[in-house]
């Protein structure tokens, strides 16, 4: 990362708010021109518009700018919202909570609290040593990576707000119920022994009140960081999706990933575990598969598995959790995801 040059003296909040308003207008204008743009771009190519290749390219040229625009908006909004929360504040809200209410609060706070799986260990210890019950801590740790802005933004962009909202609701449901079940097992003794001996300092950094200018800056920083990290995965994913749209035979996919193939849900969960870092590239492919007859429940289960059951996070958490506890965690969350997948395939037959 390059060292930043001296920032100009902070301009007033009004300037920043005005900048955001201007940015939103430009965004709206660009978004309204997506269809004309893609039609125009395809017409420039020496192609039959309704050939397989023409369909695939039109799809690609429409989807790439659309997805990037929507993702930018969602990531920015989430980046601003997150400045109102911190792990320290979330911990003090959850400390000493009863299970039940605590699980629900933890899952909800998991959406808006800044979280990176690289700090899962200090966060875990910070929570547990401050008196947050183990099950409540797990609800947080399940919801935080699962209901994330990239997954929500992409589902919203590619599959519509109904699917994004469904994913949000059932993701929270899995986090709440799985955390609550783990809590009822009283598995504190399955933590690594050093975790319980540690007395974590409860101080943390002093928090100043942020100005709106700083919150907006944080939102832009989130866009730079997150969109900058995932954009090429998205383009690769949409290219693969476009090929599926243009060329893949429908019957084949419906038979593999359709609602009649019951085994497709567990298969989707298992395949999703090692695919963590590529979530951004996977959703566009999944969207194309849906169009070709894959079942919604299978797709939701796959997405949840990709985000909630990640191999790197398990390896990181191994420092504080025994292998037995990780196995219980994976089994319970996996079962919850399976239930969601089957439920949807049953309901939307």
């Amino acid at each position: 990362m390059s060292v930043r040059t001296e920032a100009p003296r902070a301009p007033g909040t009004l300037v920043w708010v005005g900048g955001v308003a201007a940015g939103l207008s430009v965004w709206t204008l660009l978004y309204s021109q997506l269809v004309p743009f893609s039609e125009w771009a395809v017409s420039l190519l020496p192609l039959e518009r309704h050939s397989h290749l023409g369909e695939a390219i039109a799809f690609f040229l429409y989807d790439v700018p659309k997805v990037l625009l929507l993702l930018t908006l969602v990531v920015f909004a989430m980046g601003v919202v997150r400045t109102f929360f911190s792990p320290e504040r979330t911990r003090s809200l959850l400390a000493g909570r009863r299970e039940g209410v605590g699980n629900a609060m933890a899952a909800l706070l998991g959406i808006v609290t800044p979280f990176c799986s690289c700090s899962a260990v200090p966060l875990f210890i910070g929570f547990v040593s401050a008196g947050v019950p183990l099950g409540v801590t797990f609800s947080f740790l399940i919801a935080a990576p699962m209901v994330n802005e990239v997954a929500l933004g992409l589902l919203f962009a590619l599959l519509g707000w109904q699917v994004a909202l469904t994913y949000l609701a059932f993701g929270l449901g899995v986090a709440i119920v799985a955390g609550w079940i783990i809590g009822t097992f009283r598995l504190e003794s399955w933590l690594e022994p050093w975790v319980l001996q540690i007395h974590a300092g409860a101080a943390g950094p002093a928090e100043g009140v942020l100005t709106w200018a700083e919150r907006i800056r944080a939102g832009l920083e989130a866009v730079r960081e997150i969109v900058g990290r995932v954009w090429y995965w998205i383009i690769a994913g949409i290219a693969a999706g476009a090929l599926i749209h243009g060329f893949a035979p429908e019957d084949l996919l419906a038979s593999i990933m359709g609602k009649d193939a019951w085994w497709s849900v567990p298969a989707a969960v298992i395949i999703g575990i090692p695919l963590y870092s590529n979530a951004a590239g996977i959703i566009p492919v999944v969207e194309a598969l849906l169009g070709k007859g894959a079942a919604l429940g299978t797709v939701l289960a796959f997405m949840m598995s990709v985000t909630a059951l990640s191999l790197p996070e398990m390896i990181i958490l191994r420092k504080v959790l025994s292998v037995k506890l990780i196995a219980v965690f994976v089994a319970i969350v996996g079962a919850g995801i399976l239930a969601v997948g089957f439920l949807f395939n049953l309901l939307f037959a």
């Binding site: 920032a7 911190s86 700090s119 101080a203």
Partner: protein, 77 residues
């Protein structure tokens, strides 16, 4: 002489944090002893829940992101 520590398990953002602090110290001529804390138990003992974090003379001044230069300048004054 200020005792500055960067807390974090050796991630890319922790490295960037140490670099920003070193650069600011060099520019402003502030005398610091810059150290790293990578052991998870020590990090947790500071009460830090998100990394990278920065400790100046035993007080946690920052956690969870690569700090802005302006912030670093304030700490080193």
């Amino acid at each position: 002489m200020k005792d500055v520590k960067v807390l974090g398990p050796g991630c890319a953002r922790c490295k960037a944090t140490a670099e920003v602090i070193a650069a600011v110290a060099k520019e402003t001529g502030a005398e610091i002893a810059l150290g790293k804390v990578e052991d998870m138990r020590e990090i947790v003992a500071y009460g830090v829940m998100s990394t990278p974090a920065v400790v100046v003379d035993g007080t946690v001044v920052h956690a969870g992101s690569v700090p802005e230069r302006a912030m670093v300048e304030k700490w080193l004054k």
